[in-house]
Subunit: 470 residues, 2 copies
């Protein structure tokens, strides 16, 4: 079973703006109403009808993830996600997945910094299967020692393949731990190895009892369904569950960073790797409301697509970089990182690469972006957003995520107008305010020879592609 | 009330080797037997008669300190130490201290990474007062909301004066948080400000119930006392207390560091400040048994006294440093830092200073220390140890500390022979093994103008001297 976990690792998601015209054409589909209601036990339910195909996506989102964890128990949310497939009082281990498969559905789960979520994609007339099974494991999970011991091995192996043996992941993990001083975002979603090795069954039982309850969850259903019918099913299966006294975790705000940080990771690797991370606000940390959207546009200007600045100037122009990526998520629950990643071109030094990135950041701080460039980028960003929402799965993701981080699903409707309203002055303002050296952490992967024992134990290439992606 | 907290911050302790001849002369006093016994409820009692003066030091050591804490609750051990002076079911707030003072005694407490300890110094015929009061507050502490709210203010103010407004402390705190990736030593003993501000009375009650019990404590009595009489008193006052089910915290070993780390702290300050920290083992982490002692000798070679290498070469010779310090503690409970701190001489750059330190470390790795230098340093180290033990307080500290970190008080007897046995090859071996760039974290304090608001709110100079010292 693959139960991948989501992190904020730089991804190529922003590059998915290819089908521009098609995406814009589908905008009409993205607008239907969301039906929201809350059961007596506190379960929030969001239903969004989308009748383009006779399918339905059902997701259950829990307000718990790695940023709710403390030292010694890092990764426990992810471990519990694995255990959620081990059966309930009425259902044997692995039975859940077999039932969904027998119904022709797909299902899986993912754990992030801010959430743990479970989903099924089914023919729309099979939604009941999903709700029955999810309600069952929300309350009746059986946590057995034998399953636990085996699954803990699976998770340590997952960590070994995806982090220990992946030099870029290892670098990213160390980078994150250095960039955040007090925020729980400093811990990896999968957890530190020693913590994984020392989980007890009681830890899992405690975590399950503490966070898995209808009043700490959101059910999201998107597809070819009628809201009243979904409501009836939700009442039938989730309605009888008891709410729990969910206590919020202690706030752990990030201490203000007041100086540059640099970290080197020496590991067997083929290529060096460079990371820049600037502390940045998100919609959830309540900065000026336009700031997260200006940062989002800024990320696209720097690294959105082939015509973005880092691509056109560092990869193609100066040929100092073989690859670059920019990542920023306006919907993280807490102060986040505006991240730039880069791999040097063959024969070019890390110092040259770093200087190239620094120069592009300097320009953004000092020179306002031209209206034409800004308009082009905004069109891309809006298109990517609209394109993404062509998928019922992505629509459900958006709603569940926004609800779970505390912004509320209606924030989804603000995205396009907020992006469209970003001005050149705002782009420059956020560059000046946030892309400052005093708030910067830099990491460098310094490759060691691949013949070392660590490299020989490395994972097959197939794992690499799926790393930390959903 | 001053309840200072102990950290591993570089201190001038090593410099206290002045009275060499006198110290060696007192060696005869340092040898008397330690009487050890354990009460039925698990309280370990160590009694060391020392009849040179009619005084007694009584200390109660709890196996809890900042390294037992997790995020969100950092500093709670220190906060609880403050609350331990707020009275019990039978004793009003502040009464404890007034009784001890009325008996002509002194008393205080200290919290460190590995322990929380309370002590009284009294005329030896007043020992009963101390044991009666300590036993009372081990079990019957009253944690009242009004005291708590006030005392939390006291602790936030303490943090403001000793850390926020002290640029070197602030730099050290950030340095520590960067050097340790997963170890709880990354947190300051006093706790992060946000955590202090969010303590609840329930947090304190929970911490008190979890750790304050006879089976998690050691009573150390040193002075003009008879062991059987101390035993009778201990039985009388501590004997009736119930043991608790003390659960060990999760292990949180430090992840292996595989590359250089650098951090800059920009803060209003008069002078820059440079810190080097190399990851190093301690007697408690079970390296080769001679390694911690070779590192201790190495620390003295580098920075022990006026004739040490950094003093003679960087301060006096090249005049690149105005001040240097070296700190290493072989008795920390977990992997620790071998720390070098330095302030540049007027007109000399931080780069020059850094290069000077790097050069001295390189020499230690590459050239064996000469027998004459080693002998001189060993004499100093042994003398400092013996000198320190001239104080009954220091003797009690040593016993309590070793017992509390799990090494056992008998380790004290090994110190001098272990130091005497260190060879030039061993000094070079630990320099090569541990003083490596891949295991190094460097921090620089970059002074901002003192006219900024932070500097104006700064503490009076008198606080500075006492900062983080015991």
């Amino acid at each position: 079973m693959t139960t991948p976990h989501v992190t904020t690792q730089p991804s190529a998601a922003k590059a998915a703006v290819a089908l521009l015209a098609l995406a814009l054409a589908t905008a009409a589909f993205a607008a239907p109403e969301v039906h929201e209601f809350t059961l007596g036990n506190g379960l929030k339910v969001l239903v969004k009808p989308d009748r383009r195909a006779p399918v339905v996506v059902s997701q259950v989102w829990y307000k718990v993830g790695s940023s709710y964890e403390t030292e010694g128990l890092t990764g426990i949310s992810h471990m519990l996600e694995h255990m959620m497939f081990k059966g309930t009082e009425s259902l044997g281990p692995g039975k859940f997945s077999r039932i969904v498969a027998a119904e022709g559905g797909r299902e899986n789960a993912f754990t992030g910094q801010d959430y743990t979520a479970y989903f099924q994609s089914l023919a729309s007339d099979r939604l009941e299967v999903s709700l029955r099974l999810e309600a069952d494991r929300m309350a009746n999970l059986l946590l057995r020692d034998e399953d636990f011991i085996k699954e803990r091995e699976v998770v340590t192996e997952e960590r070994r393949l995806r982090t220990e043996d992946q030099p870029e992941s290892l670098t990213y993990e160390t980078f994150q731990a250095m960039a955040y001083q007090t925020s729980p975002y400093r811990h990896p979603v999968i957890g530190w190895m020693s913590d994984i090795e020392h989980y007890s069954l009681d830890d899992l039982k405690g975590w399950y009892r503490r966070w898995y309850a209808p009043n700490n969850a959101t059910l999201v259903v998107v597809g070819d369904v009628d809201p009243p019918a979904v409501r009836a099913l939700a009442e039938r299966y989730f309605g009888p569950l008891k709410p729990a006294a969910v206590q919020s975790p202690k706030p752990r705000p990030e201490v203000e960073q007041v100086g540059l940080r640099r970290v080197v990771v020496e590991a067997p690797a083929k290529l060096p790797y460079l990371l820049f991370g600037y502390k940045a606000p998100t919609a959830a940390t309540r900065p000026e409301p336009w700031e997260p959207y200006a940062l989002d546009v800024l990320a696209a200007i720097l690294g959105g697509d082939e015509s973005s600045r880092l691509q056109s100037r560092l990869v193609r122009g100066e040929e100092v970089a073989a690859d670059v990526g920019v990542s920023y998520d306006p919907y993280d629950r807490m102060t986040t990182l505006f991240t730039i990643s880069a791999v040097p071109a063959q024969g070019r030094s890390m110092d040259d690469l770093e200087a190239g990135v620094v120069e592009e950041v300097r320009r953004l701080r000092e020179e306002p972006v031209l209206a034409a460039e800004l308009d082009k980028v905004k069109t891309q960003v809006v298109a990517a957003d609209v394109y993404q929402l062509d998928s019922v799965f992505a629509q459900a993701m958006r709603l569940g995520r926004l609800e779970t981080v505390g912004l509320g699903w209606r924030t989804a409707d603000e995205y396009v107008p907020r992006v469209r309203a970003v001005t050149p002055e705002q782009v420059q303002a956020v560059a000046r305010k946030y892309l400052r050296e005093e708030a910067l952490t830099m990491a460098r992967l310094k490759p060691l020879p691949l013949s070392s024992p660590v490299a020989r134990a490395s994972a097959p290439a197939a794992i690499e592609g799926g790393r930390h992606a959903r």
